[in-house]
């Protein structure tokens, strides 16, 4: 009613309340997440930060020991550096390979040929499967003597390596396994590829650009935002690798075997926490990993300015 009485004031009021309404609605939408974060995540998070400065062992003690855990990490624990090296090696190998593989696959699956939906489904399927079942399957496939991988290699006269039994080949074996399930990333790229405007290709074709140049100068730049997103998330996920080392070790009584080649950072952390009960030390390790990943992600964001191309024009 007041709306009608003085139109100008009323308009302002509606606009104000509209803005506010929008903001409030926004907060409402994120509220469950914020509540969940405060109740379930931030508490343990802060607790683990505190615990990383104590000798906490779950049950008998929690004394403040300052930076002792961090000293132990850098000076006394040989497996800390080894596990960090293993993880870095894995990430450096896995991220580029899976990125190239999924972009390549997405490009192939973006062709207009009959039956494409079936191909897309088939290539996406492995991404649906996950966990220990897949690892068991791959342990069979990678079996040195009778595994399918080495049998196929032998058809071409190649004597396959011992894969999970050979410390030099365990990490490549796991990267190989990861290549099989790039479907998730592939789907993102496929969506991005379909969003590349057709007229750009037409214009380039008129100018005489071949398939390669069109890919290099149109397709790639147009999907760089998705590549950037995928690289950042795969990288973060890569640093968290754990299960593979725990399940696929050659000797089940020594997770990470053979020769600790699968002793990844998080696996080492898990063993320190739940086998040795050094929860304080494990928390310190967790925070150090957080710092590493944070630095790398910030670096990534800075570098992205030089290669990621956004169509919006406002640089965001």
């Amino acid at each position: 009613m007041s709306l009608r009485q003085s139109p100008s004031a009323g308009r302002r009021k509606t606009r104000l309340s509209l803005e506010r309404k929008e903001a409030l609605q926004g907060y409402m939408f994120v509220l469950p997440w914020i509540l969940g974060f405060i109740v379930f995540t931030s508490g343990p998070l802060l607790f683990s930060l505190y615990v990383s400065f104590t000798n906490y062992d779950f049950t008998s003690r929690m004394d403040f020991i300052g930076l002792r855990n961090y000293e132990h990490m850098f000076d006394e624990d040989p497996l800390f550096w080894l596990s960090l090296k293993n993880t870095a090696f894995y990430v450096v190998l896995m991220v580029p390979l899976t990125t190239i593989a999924s972009v390549f696959l997405a490009t192939l699956l973006n062709q207009k040929i009959p039956g494409m939906r079936i191909f897309r489904t088939v290539y996406y399927l492995p991404a649906v499967l996950s966990g220990v079942g897949v690892y068991m399957l791959w342990m069979q496939l990678l079996s040195p003597d009778s595994g399918l991988v080495n049998v196929v290699l032998s058809w071409f006269g190649i004597e396959g390596p011992g894969w999970l039994f050979d410390a030099n080949w365990t990490k490549p074996a796991i990267v190989f396994m990861k290549m099989w399930s790039v479907g998730g990333g592939m789907l993102m790229y496929l969506a991005a590829l379909q969003n590349v405007p057709e007229q750009l290709y037409e214009a380039a074709e008129l100018d005489g650009a071949g398939v390669f140049r069109r890919f290099r100068h149109i397709t790639l730049p147009m999907i760089t935002p998705v590549i950037f997103f995928e690289v950042v998330t795969t990288l973060i996920g890569g640093f968290q690798i754990f299960q593979e080392g725990y399940v696929m070790s050659a000797d089940p009584t020594t997770p990470g075997s053979p020769m600790n080649s699968l002793l990844f950072y998080n696996l080492h952390m898990y063993l320190k926490a739940f086998q040795v009960f050094q929860m304080g030390y494990a928390s310190a390790m967790a925070w150090f990993l957080f710092a590493i990943v944070l630095v790398i992600t910030l670096l990534n964001m800075w570098i992205s300015k030089f290669w990621v191309h956004y169509e919006g024009g406002d640089g965001r």
Binding site: S17, K21, L24, M28, L31, P32, L35, V39, N55, D57, F58, T59, S60, H72, E76, D77, P78, L79, S143, P144, D145, S146, G147, G162, F165, D166, A167, D251, T253, T254, P255, G256, S257, P258, M259, N260, L263, L271, K272, F274, Q275, V276, F277, Q278
Partner: protein, 455 residues
């Protein structure tokens, strides 16, 4: 106005939902914490006794114990459930509820439950790390109970009783154990002209016999006589050499002269048979039906007593011979090693008295005998293990006798993860990338350093 009202309604609803959720959580915690996990097959009475109203109508209140163990397979679960229900029937004061927890997972869960102050009443735990849990206040000190029943401690094999002591006080009761010994294929022995009734007694004999039993077909082996690392393990032979475990309560013993010799000897098998061939051979191990010993691809192997139960359906039992692990040289001893599980009361459990009663029953003759009889496990109770019914089976009798050669010792509290430090050096030595002597020296130093820096 209207919009704002709508908003506040939504807000109220959300807050209500949130608080209901929280209330549900907290009431869950107060109520029955671990009862939801299991489904005991016993149709016994006061299963839901934890309900808020004290059951005044019942004449005597029974105590319900929550018992956790990792035995869930079709062979083990019925046996443990039978023992539990026998205990429940044997008295009317305590009711035990069996909860199966997947191997390893149950221990992590126990840890969380202890930290939260609401653990199970009795749990089956790892025999090597009792001291660690004693020190960390995860297990209840049993001295008080033992002083009332001092004879309980005499039930057990000595080395098993030793594992449950921390600062000379018991924190667990041993339940079962295992021992490793030599199995050989009598038919294969006869086939190559060896006497099926005289198994190898020394390392030298083992090697001579094995060479005779090898059967090569072109580049591949149809049968190998024996392989030290794949059919026994380097750790077995290294510990067999001087009868001293790689690690015990005092610390690591990796680099004695005998152990260096032993590691060289273990590597010798790869040198002779081919490392690559043997790795490929090892990769085919695993499933029971496909066990190389069962299908005749391996003529001798070192395995635990339960191995017999697993293979007896796939082989003619008369073709299976068994003998102590051959000794390094005459007189050095047929040493072997074992492991096992203990019964413990997690720290903070509500009914330690009743738990102790149950643990006594579990380690007494009837329960132990039942376990041994059906599962072929070595049991911790000496008298039960020597029971005539069990000894009637020659393999069981032999496995019990073999306990005198079986080394078991707790792992130092500050080195439960010693294998991750030491094993890589030894693996390197076995690959020929490191001299056995220096590998064992490094392993020794590595574990010593681990013990020094773990606090």
């Amino acid at each position: 106005m209207f919009q704002r009202k709508k908003f506040s309604v939504i807000l109220v609803v959300m807050v209500l939902i949130g608080s209901t959720l929280l209330a549900a959580c907290s009431s869950d915690k107060k109520g029955e914490p671990s009862a939801s996990v299991s489904s005991p097959s016993n149709s016994a009475t006061p299963g839901e006794s934890a309900s808020p109203s004290p059951s005044a109508d019942k004449p005597k209140e029974k105590v319900t114990l929550d018992f956790w163990a990792h035995w869930g397979s079709t062979t083990r679960r019925p046996i443990i459930e039978k023992i539990v229900s026998d205990f429940n029937a044997s008295q009317d004061r305590i009711f035990v509820k069996y909860s199966f927890q997947p191997f390893g997972e149950g221990w992590t869960k126990e840890l969380a439950a202890i930290a939260a102050g609401n653990p199970p009443d009795v749990i089956i735990q790892d025999i090597f790390t009792v001291g660690q849990r004693a020190e960390k206040k995860q297990a209840v000190n049993l001295s008080e109970f033992l002083s009332k029943d001092p004879s309980v401690k005499d039930r057990f094999f000595e080395q098993l009783w030793d594992t449950v002591l921390y600062n000379n006080e018991p924190y667990a009761l041993p339940f079962n154990t295992d021992t490793r010994f030599l199995y050989y294929n009598k038919k294969a022995f006869a086939e190559v002209g060896l006497d099926p009734n005289s198994p190898p007694t020394t390392w030298a004999e083992l090697e001579t016999f094995a060479k005779k039993l090898d059967k090569k077909n072109g580049k591949r082996y149809d049968r190998i006589g024996y392989h030290a690392n794949n059919a026994g393990g380097w750790d077995l032979w290294v510990q067999n050499s001087d009868g001293k475990l790689l690690i015990d309560r005092e610390g690591p013993h990796y680099n004695s002269d005998a152990k260096v010799e032993a590691l060289k000897w273990v590597k010798g098998w790869d040198d002779r048979l081919g490392k690559k061939e043997m790795d490929a051979f090892k990769a085919t191990f695993g499933s029971k039906q496909n066990d190389p010993f069962v299908i005749g691809k391996l003529a001798m192997t070192v395995q635990t007593g339960t191995f017999f139960a697993q293979i007896k359906d796939f082989m003619n039992p008369d073709d299976i011979g068994f003998a102590p692990v051959p000794e390094m040289k005459p007189g050095s001893g047929n040493w072997t090693f074992g492991g096992g599980f203990t019964l413990e009361i997690p720290y903070g459990a509500k009914h330690p008295e009743e738990s102790w009663e149950f643990m006594k029953y579990m380690t007494d003759i009837a329960a132990q005998k039942y376990w041994g009889q059906y599962l072929f496990d070595n049991i911790a109770n000496k008298e039960a293990a020597n029971d005539p019914d069990l000894s009637a089976n020659p393999v069981y009798k032999f496995a019990t006798e073999n306990m005198k050669w079986t080394l078991i010792s707790p792992v130092p509290n500050n080195a439960p993860d010693y294998k991750n430090i030491a094993n890589p050096f030894i693996e390197k030595a076995l690959l020929g990338q490191e001299d056995p002597k220096s590998a064992l020296d490094k392993a020794q130093a590595g574990v010593e350093n681990l013990m020094k820096t773990t606090k």
